[in-house]
């Protein structure tokens, strides 16, 4: 009986998430474009729904809601479905859409998309070899195999994104990094842009006029034929078409310059807006948050380095340590265990939500930047993949995070908690994932620091050049 109630709760929440994903898709992502095939939207919403359900299951696990056997059943079911979609359906559809965009293979697109899918599966399988994740106990098509591979890809992606986010977030929010932009700067750049456009126009006018006179004299369509024609073409047409190629090269260079100027002007406008925004209350609030987050991010990078250098796996979470230290220092009688669990739970929830929000916003910006109606199907499917990877691995990592922190604090909780996870996931090498995450996180953070530094330095130099 309770099983039925629990199942109905789960299914209702799944339908809710599905609807939310559908709405998000329509309102945010595809505001300006039309989706030709609804199958893409359906897949995206289904993936979103199942990912959210898994996260919901974690929360239920911690809070102890619902019957444990029904929880177990739903875990298994969700996992199966998500893996099915991720590994089988989405790559197939991506391959299908890519192939249908290439006109040459239009007739046999099903065949080619199957081929593409098989290649993908082969590489996916090969991915498992260099990593110590195979245990001989399990068969080929078991869940553990699939999860381990999905886990590797997802952890890499997540680490890359968090590395970039850890550096980008303080850079964006802190006004310390904002360059000073005045209206005169913008006007000067705009004038240069228009001047360049005028130069392009005058050159193109010359070319058009030259082409027209050549056409009228009947030269253009006169292909040199035969021996006599070749000799003629050497002497007469030299002046006409050579001139044109020279001017064409100049025009190409000028067009490149105009593109650069356009992008710089857009950049200046964006900086000006940010400066104005930082003067408002909201801006100041975000500025403060930026300082706070930057400290946290620096701490995380530091911890990642230490973990790698000293070859240890992170055991305690920062909040517990911090509270322990303060409590011991201040000597206050404080129920550390009770409060730290809740606080770390809340903090982790906030971090997850903000990083997801940041991720979705970055993805939407990225999506706008490269969008056009042709590639939109492929992009959405890629988005679905990325999102589901992200969710699955956040669940993975958070599960570990909770286990290790809860283990240290409360003796009663960890055993039941751990058994459920080990039962469902099998014996994965969790330590390996932590290490892998740290390495990729560090690499990505350092490279994004380098990248942002270069971009920041390059911009004011360009402005100073006349």
């Amino acid at each position: 009986m309770s099983f039925l109630i629990d199942s109905s709760i789960m299914i209702t929440s799944q339908i809710l998430f599905f609807g939310f994903g559908w709405l998000f898709f329509m309102r945010q992502l595809f505001k300006d474009y039309e989706i030709r095939q609804y199958v893409v939207q359906v897949i995206f919403s289904v993936t979103f729904a199942f990912s959210c359900t898994m996260f919901e299951l974690i929360i239920f696990e911690i809070l102890g809601v619902l019957n444990s056997s029904s929880r177990y059943f739903h875990w298994k079911m969700n996992l199966c479905v998500i893996l099915l979609i991720l590994v089988f359906m989405v790559p197939f559809y991506i391959g299908y859409f890519i192939v249908s965009n290439i006109r040459l293979l239009h007739k046999q697109r099903l065949l080619f998309s199957c081929l593409l899918w098989l290649t993908f599966m082969y590489f996916f399988w090969k991915l498992g070899d260099p990593f110590p994740i195979l245990s001989p106990k399990h068969g080929i098509l078991s869940i553990e195999q699939l999860i381990s591979r999905v886990g590797v890809i997802g952890v890499t992606l997540m680490a890359l994104l968090s590395g970039f986010g850890a550096v980008n977030c303080p850079y964006t929010y802190m006004s310390y990094f904002l360059r000073n932009v005045t209206d005169t700067d913008i006007l000067a750049l705009e004038r240069r842009l228009l001047q360049t456009m005028d130069m392009i126009i005058s050159k193109k006018k010359r070319m058009a006029m030259a082409r027209r006179t050549m056409f009228q004299k009947g030269e253009v369509h006169n292909k040199p034929s035969g021996f006599w024609g070749m000799i003629k073409s050497v002497t007469t047409s030299a002046s006409g078409s050579e001139n044109l190629t020279l001017i064409q090269q100049e025009v190409d260079a000028l067009e490149e310059l105009s593109r650069q100027l356009f992008l710089e002007t857009a950049d200046l406008y964006a900086t000006k807006e940010r400066i104005e925004y930082s003067k408002t209350f909201k801006g100041k609030y975000f500025n403060f948050l930026g300082y706070f987050f930057s400290i946290y991010c620096v701490w995380k990078i530091f911890m990642a380095t230490i973990n790698i250098v000293f070859d240890r796996v992170g055991k305690t979470d920062p909040v517990t340590r911090g509270i322990e230290i303060t409590v011991n220092y201040l000597g206050i009688q404080f129920d550390v265990k009770f409060w730290s669990q809740h606080i770390s739970f809340i903090l982790v929830g906030i971090i997850i939500v903000t990083s997801i929000r940041g991720l979705l916003i970055t993805l939407t910006k990225f999506f706008y930047a490269i969008s056009s109606s042709k590639s939109s199907n492929v992009i959405v499917l890629l988005l679905a993949q990325i999102m589901s990877h992200f969710w699955i691995n956040s669940f993975d990592l958070q599960g570990m995070y909770f286990v290790s922190s809860v283990l240290l604090i409360r003796m009663s909780m960890p055993l039941e908690y751990r058994t459920i996870i080990t039962e469902v996931l099998g014996e994965l090498q969790f330590n390996f994932y932590h290490r892998w995450f740290d390495v990729i996180f560090l690499v990505s953070a350092l490279s994004s620091i380098l990248f942002l530094y270069l971009a920041h330095k390059q911009a004011p130099e360009k402005q100073m050049a006349p």
């Binding site: 300006d32 039309e34 006018k205 070319m207 058009a208 027209r212 067009e255 857009a266 109606s373």
Partner: protein, 212 residues
């Protein structure tokens, strides 16, 4: 070049509808082989003999300014684009016949472009909502072109064309449904069913579009 000879025409529309291909076709009389995404603005020039064959024949350079981007761009990009909208003699709106949203977005494009040119006569812009009366005293000639007709299946063509006719009524422009042939279908030129002839007396500039 004296300013009398200069005619500036904007080509506006969503990403990927075929503006660059259209401009290339008009100016070079060739199909664009490798269309790529336009950053900023690309200009091309067409030499045109106005009133050819009559004693008042005059040669004009028609500049086609193909502005890239979408209506949903960041406001910084929109402000940068606005620098191209000054002193425009005419606007060509391009939309994709296979993509409904692109024709709906034309209204937002017109708001963006035309509100720059309107001399402030106290016209209120009601945050993006389309108001037909705003364009009642608009002096700039408009042209709406629908592309990729060849990619629509024969049976659906009628329905698509009636839909665009309704859209066109709001603007009061002249309308052309254009086929831009992609190179893997045919290499021939284009079939244009109709063709407008417009004159504008406002600033004393005369312009007409003529396809050979």
């Amino acid at each position: 070049m004296a300013s009398l000879d200069r005619v500036k025409v904007l080509v506006l529309g969503d990403s990927g509808v075929g503006k660059s291909s259209l401009v290339h076709l008009l100016c070079q009389n060739q199909v664009l082989g490798n269309p790529s995404w336009t950053v900023g603005c690309s200009v091309d020039v067409r030499v045109h003999d106005y009133k050819e064959g009559t004693p008042e024949e005059k040669t004009y350079y028609i500049e086609l300014w193909d502005v890239g981007g979408s209506v949903g761009s960041a406001s910084s990009v929109k402000s940068t684009r606005a620098v191209f909208y000054n002193s425009v003699n005419g606007i060509i709106f391009v939309h994709d016949l296979t993509n409904k949203k692109s024709s709906q977005n034309l209204r937002r494009w017109s708001l963006e472009a035309l509100n720059r040119d309107l001399v402030p006569t106290g016209v209120l812009v009601t945050n993006g909502d389309y108001d037909q009366e705003q364009f009642a005293d608009n002096q700039i000639p408009l042209l709406v072109i629908g592309t990729k007709l060849d990619q629509i299946h024969e049976t659906k063509r009628h329905e698509v064309l009636t839909r665009t006719a309704f859209l066109a009524e709001d603007f009061n422009p002249e309308e052309i449904n254009l086929v831009i042939e992609k190179r893997y279908f045919l290499r021939e030129g284009n079939q244009i069913p109709g063709f407008p002839d417009r004159k504008r007396f406002g600033a004393g500039t005369l312009k007409s579009l003529h396809y050979d």
